[in-house]
Symmetry: C2
Subunit: 241 residues, 2 copies
């Protein structure tokens, strides 16, 4: 059974302090959409066990799966493995496979405390390996623990995407050269007709004039086309009255 | 009393579907840091009353203030005013001031259903006005309801920043030309000595070599300098052994 809903839990003071613009949730959101998995929430929390444990327990109960980003390096602020283990009530221990892989790569004498720290995963977890790094992510139950460094996160995410979604979402965007208030009532009526289609309206500006986009998305290509036809037909009427 | 802690609640299917890269929380995070208000969580939720109400009630109980972004336009997917009102158990009604301002601006005959919809705020709310738009945001208790369109959000946020923080946070970044595992133990010891300073380590790559940054932040300039000195001293030792 693939995961039909998911949440992303970003762990990082650097995002909350405005130092770093979050990139991994954005990457994952696009990939999950294309995989057909509904992303239900993104939460960004600080590097504290309390915040991670409570958010993770809330999200893993609410969604089919949770993907975490960040906090799996060797420094004191990397506490995701410990916090996930705490959330599940299990221990954290060095994983024989990771110790071996890192020792082979770095050499016995280079296996310092920092690297040893990166061999630890929650008891019972399986490993999420990718080409970009020796130290893997981990999966325990419906929680996927990925790195925060974007090129590693992306590679690890790509390696687990097969677990998510059955039928890809598709999106159609309709350009609109009108202020939203001119068609909001009519668009609401279309949404009523097509409750299975997600319809959003996003305003913008073309120079001094209001313009925007109406976005429709669905896993059902035929229904998506019918709803888009209805929107285009409605807009033609609005423009001419 | 200014708000010392805050959360940001981003309301928008367009972020969760990967269509739009979130920008407002990033902008607000930097401003709150510079204002001395601790941002404790960012949550991105869909355009559903259930998600907005439950997240808002959780966050407003946990933090001094909550800033919402998005969902205050005239279309059917703009349900933030209604959802915030629901969270507080109050009604939503047209605000006399907004009706007047919009009527003055657009003219009586242009006050269609969509524009009327944008005059509604939760009962008891005060208005958050800015130069960029006629339709204002609103504040009720410790919740600030701002627009999703970035240039409007930014202008509205700037207008409320005076409510947040007393003593600005400062950040110092120390460049490191080493893999984190070489100094993680020593950095943990410094963190133990300076529990009041937030110390994070962020790895990166300089070409094929590991490098990164150690970031220190605090509201106390003297302590921040002392901790930074300790980090620099430690790094000099690591490099030479």
């Amino acid at each position: 059974m693939k995961h039909q809903t998911a949440a992303i839990l970003v762990i990082g003071n650097e995002v909350l302090s405005g130092r770093t613009r979050e990139a991994n949730a954005y990457y994952a959101a696009g990939k999950l959409f294309a995989s057909g998995c509904k992303l239900g929430e993104i939460a960004v929390v600080p590097d504290t066990a309390q915040a991670i444990v409570s958010s993770l327990n809330r999200l893993r109960a609410q969604f089919d799966a949770v993907i975490t980003s960040g906090g799996i390096g060797p420094t004191h602020d990397d506490i995701t493995m410990d916090s996930v283990a705490e959330a599940f009530g299990v221990g954290v221990n060095e994983h024989r496979f990771i110790v071996q892989a890192m020792t082979d790569y770095y050499g016995e004498e280079a296996m310092n405390d920092g690297r040893r720290r990166m061999t630890r995963v929650p008891d019972g977890a399986s490993l999420i390996r990718c080409e970009k790094t020796i130290a893997p992510g981990a999966r325990i139950s419906n929680v996927y623990i990925l790195a925060g460094v974007p090129y590693i996160f992306e590679s690890q995410l790509d390696s687990i995407l097969g677990d998510f979604g059955d039928s890809p979402y598709q999106r159609i965007e309709v350009e609109v050269a009108l202020a939203e208030s001119h068609f909001s009532k009519q668009l609401a009526a279309i949404q009523e007709q097509f409750m299975d289609i997600e319809i959003g309206s996003y305003p913008g500006r073309c120079g001094p004039k209001a313009c925007g986009k109406i976005c429709l998305s669905s896993q059902d290509t035929k229904r998506l086309k019918r709803a888009t036809d209805a929107v285009n037909k409605m807009l033609a009427t609005v423009i001419t009255t």
